[in-house]
C-alpha cells in the first residue's frame, strides 16, 4: 500500500514542480520518491499483506517484481534526464507520466481481483500512448503513438470482453470466488469461462508483444523516442509477464490443462518467428524489438513450467533481461546522440574512441544471447531446467537451438563496433548519469551471472 501511494505522490510532486517552474527538481524528486518506495517495498518482504478486501495481494512475488520494476524505472529515469534535458524544456509532464506508469505496474504485479488488473493495465497503457508520442513534431513519434493507441485500446476491448465472460460464468471478479467456482464439480469445462479466459489471455499477450500479437512492437519501438523505447522494452514487458505469471500460476493453477497448450504454442511461435525475423534487420531499435519478442517467448516458458523453481527462474530472467536491455539502449542513446542514426553502420569503428561504451555493448549483447559469465546465461539455464522438469523437452530443445541462432544477430552490432574505421569514429562524452547507469548494470549483470542463487533462492 505505502509503495503505491508513495510512487503516485511522487508523480503529483513532479507535476507540482513543473507547475511552479522548477524543472531541475524533477529528477531528484523522482529518484528520491522511487528509492523511498523501494525501501517500503523491501520492508514488506515476507509480510504477505492482503489489502482492500484481497484486491491487492502483496506477497513475496509482488515484492520481488515491484523492486525490480522500481529500480529499472529509476535507471530509465537517469537516462531520460541525461538525454532529454539537453534539448527539451518541458520535462515534468513526461517524467510524471513515467512515474504514473510505474505506479500502475505495482498494481499489475499484485492484483487479487480482475478490477485491479484492468485498472493497472489501462493506466499503464494510457501513460504509454502519450509517452510514445512525446516528440510532438516528429512524424515517426506521432505514427508510433497512434498505432500503439489504436491497437492497444483494441486489445483492451478484447480483454474486457473476456473479463465480462469470466464474470458471467463465475459471478465474481475476485479470484477467491473464481477459484471456488472452478473447484466446484462440473464447472471446469464451462465454455463461457473458457472463451473469457482465452480473450483475457489475448489482451495480456498483446501487452507483452508475444507472437501472434507482436506486429505493433517493432513499429512502436522504432518510432518512439529512444528513452521511452527503453522503458517499454524493459519495465513494461516485465510488468506484463509478471501479471501473466500471477494470473496463471497463482489464480488459475487448478485449470492448467485448459491454458497450457495455448501458452506453449504462443511461446514457441514467439521464440522461432522473432529469431528468424530479427536476422535480416538493419536497425538497432528494430533488432531490439524482435529480440524483445523472442525474450517474451522465453519468459512465457517459465509460466508454462509452473513448479517450485519457475518463479525464481522467471525473476532471474526478468532481472537479467531488464539490465541487458537498459544497458543496450543506453549505448544506443549515446550513439544516436553523435550520429543521429540507429543503423548498424552508425556503430562502425566506434570502439576505437569509446572503449567503455564498446565494453558495455559487448556485455549486454552477450548477456542477452546467453553467454557465460553474464547473467543471461544462468537465467536461460534456470528457465530451461525448470521447463524440462515439468516435461516440455521438445520446447526446451527448440528454445536452445533458437538462442544459438540468436547469437548471430547479437554479434552484428558488436562486430560493427569493433571494425577498424577511424574516419567515422566520433568520441561521445558520457555524462555522470550515464556512467552511473553503465556501471550499475554491468556490475549486476556480472554479479548475477556468477551468483544466480542470490535471486533464484528468493522466490
Amino acid at each position: 500500500m505505502e509503495v503505491i501511494i508513495t510512487i503516485a505522490l511522487t508523480g503529483v510532486a513532479i507535476m507540482m514542480a513543473g507547475a511552479f517552474n522548477k524543472p531541475g527538481f524533477s529528477l531528484w524528486i523522482a529518484i528520491a520518491g522511487l528509492m523511498l518506495a523501494f525501501g517500503f517495498n523491501i520492508s514488506l518482504w515476507n509480510c504477505n499483506v492482503h489489502i482492500f478486501n484481497d484486491m491487492i495481494v502483496y506477497d513475496n512475488f509482488a515484492v520481488a517484481f515491484n523492486g525490480l520494476i522500481i529500480i529499472s524505472s529509476a535507471l530509465v529515469f537517469l537516462l531520460f534526464h541525461s538525454h532529454y534535458s539537453r534539448w527539451e524544456k518541458h520535462l515534468d509532464e513526461i517524467s510524471a507520466l513515467l512515474v504514473f506508469a510505474t505506479t500502475s505496474m505495482m498494481m499489475m504485479t499484485s492484483f487479487g481481483n480482475l478490477v485491479v488488473l484492468f485498472i493497472g493495465i489501462e493506466t499503464m497503457s494510457i501513460c504509454l500512448y502519450v509517452l510514445a508520442g512525446s516528440r510532438k513534431f516528429e512524424l515517426p513519434s506521432n505514427e508510433a503513438a497512434l498505432k500503439y493507441f489504436l491497437l492497444g485500446s483494441f486489445a483492451s476491448g478484447i480483454m474486457l470482453f473476456g473479463i465480462a465472460l469470466i464474470y458471467g460464468a463465475s459471478a465474481s471478479f475476485d479470484f477467491h470466488g473464481i477459484k471456488e467456482y472452478l473447484l466446484s464439480a462440473n464447472n471446469a469445462s464451462n465454455n463461457l469461462f473458457n472463451a473469457g479466459l482465452l480473450l483475457l489471455t489475448v489482451g495480456l499477450l498483446f501487452k507483452i508483444a508475444a507472437v501472434p500479437f507482436h506486429f505493433w512492437a517493432p513499429d512502436v519501438y522504432e518510432g518512439s523516442p529512444t528513452v521511452i523505447t527503453t522503458f517499454m522494452a524493459s519495465v513494461v514487458k516485465i510488468a506484463g509477464v509478471a501479471a501473466l505469471y500471477r494470473l496463471y500460476a497463482y489464480h488459475f493453477d487448478t485449470i492448467k490443462p485448459i491454458w497450457a497448450n495455448t501458452i506453449m504454442i504462443v511461446s514457441a511461435l514467439s521464440i522461432i518467428l522473432a529469431v528468424l525475423i530479427a536476422l535480416p534487420q538493419k536497425r538497432f531499435k528494430r533488432l531490439m524489438a524482435y529480440s524483445g519478442i523472442s525474450h517474451a517467448g522465453f519468459l512465457l516458458m517459465a509460466i508454462l513450467a509452473m513448479n517450485q523453481s519457475s518463479a525464481g527462474a522467471l525473476f532471474l530472467y526478468a532481472v537479467s533481461y531488464s539490465l541487458a536491455t537498459i544497458l543496450a539502449f543506453t549505448v544506443l542513446v549515446e550513439i544516436i546522440e553523435v550520429k543521429w542514426d540507429d543503423n548498424f553502420t552508425a556503430f562502425k569503428g566506434m570502439a576505437s574512441k569509446n572503449k567503455f561504451l564498446a565494453f558495455a555493448l559487448i556485455v549486454s549483447m552477450l548477456s542477452m544471447a546467453g553467454i557465460p559469465p553474464f547473467s543471461g546465461f544462468m537465467a536461460k539455464f534456470s528457465i530451461f531446467s525448470a521447463v524440462a522438469e515439468s516435461g516440455y523437452i521438445g520446447l526446451v530443445v527448440m528454445a536452445v537451438v533458437a538462442s544459438a541462432i540468436s547469437l548471430v544477430y547479437y554479434l552484428k552490432p558488436i562486430t560493427m563496433m569493433l571494425t577498424k574505421d577511424d574516419e567515422n569514429a566520433v568520441k561521445t562524452n558520457l555524462s555522470a548519469e550515464v556512467i552511473i547507469i553503465l556501471l550499475i548494470t554491468i556490475t549486476f549483470t556480472i554479479v548475477f551471472g556468477i551468483f544466480p542463487g542470490l535471486l533464484t533462492r528468493l522466490l
Binding site: 506521432n142 493507441f149 474486457l160 473479463i163 471478479f173
Partner: protein
C-alpha cells in the same frame, strides 16, 4: 425497482450474450475495415459499450452489484482513453493535415 429487475430477468441471459456479442463483432469489424481514425475510435467505443451492456446484464442475472460497479470503471477508463486518443489525432492532424490511418505507413520492416 423490484419490478424492473424481475422484468429484466424474464429475458433469458442468452439473448443478452448474443446481443453484446453481435455489437462487439460490429465494433471489431469497424476497427479492421474502416480507414478514418475517428470512425475507428467509435468502433472501439462500441466494443467497450457492448462489454458494459453484458456486465450489467450478468449483474442482474447473478443478483450481484459488483458487475455494475465495474461498468463505471470501464466508463472512466474509456473517457480517459478517448481524451488521449483525440489529443493524439489533433497532434497528427497538425503535422500531416489528414486523419486517414493509411497515411501512417512510414514505419515498416
Amino acid at each position: 425497482m423490484e419490478n424492473i429487475v424481475s422484468q429484466l430477468q424474464s429475458i433469458s441471459i442468452n439473448s443478452y450474450i448474443w446481443l453484446s456479442s453481435i455489437l462487439f463483432t460490429i465494433g471489431v469489424m469497424g476497427v479492421l475495415i474502416r480507414r478514418n481514425a475517428i470512425v475507428v475510435f467509435m468502433s472501439i467505443e462500441m466494443m467497450l459499450n457492448s462489454v458494459n451492456l453484458l456486465l450489467a446484464a450478468f449483474s442482474v442475472y447473478h443478483n450481484d452489484p459488483s458487475g455494475q460497479v465495474y461498468v463505471f470503471f470501464i466508463m472512466v477508463v474509456a473517457a480517459a482513453e478517448v481524451a488521449v486518443g483525440l489529443a493524439l489525432l489533433v497532434m497528427i492532424y497538425r503535422n500531416t493535415q489528414t486523419i486517414d490511418i493509411n497515411f501512417l505507413n512510414k514505419l515498416k520492416w
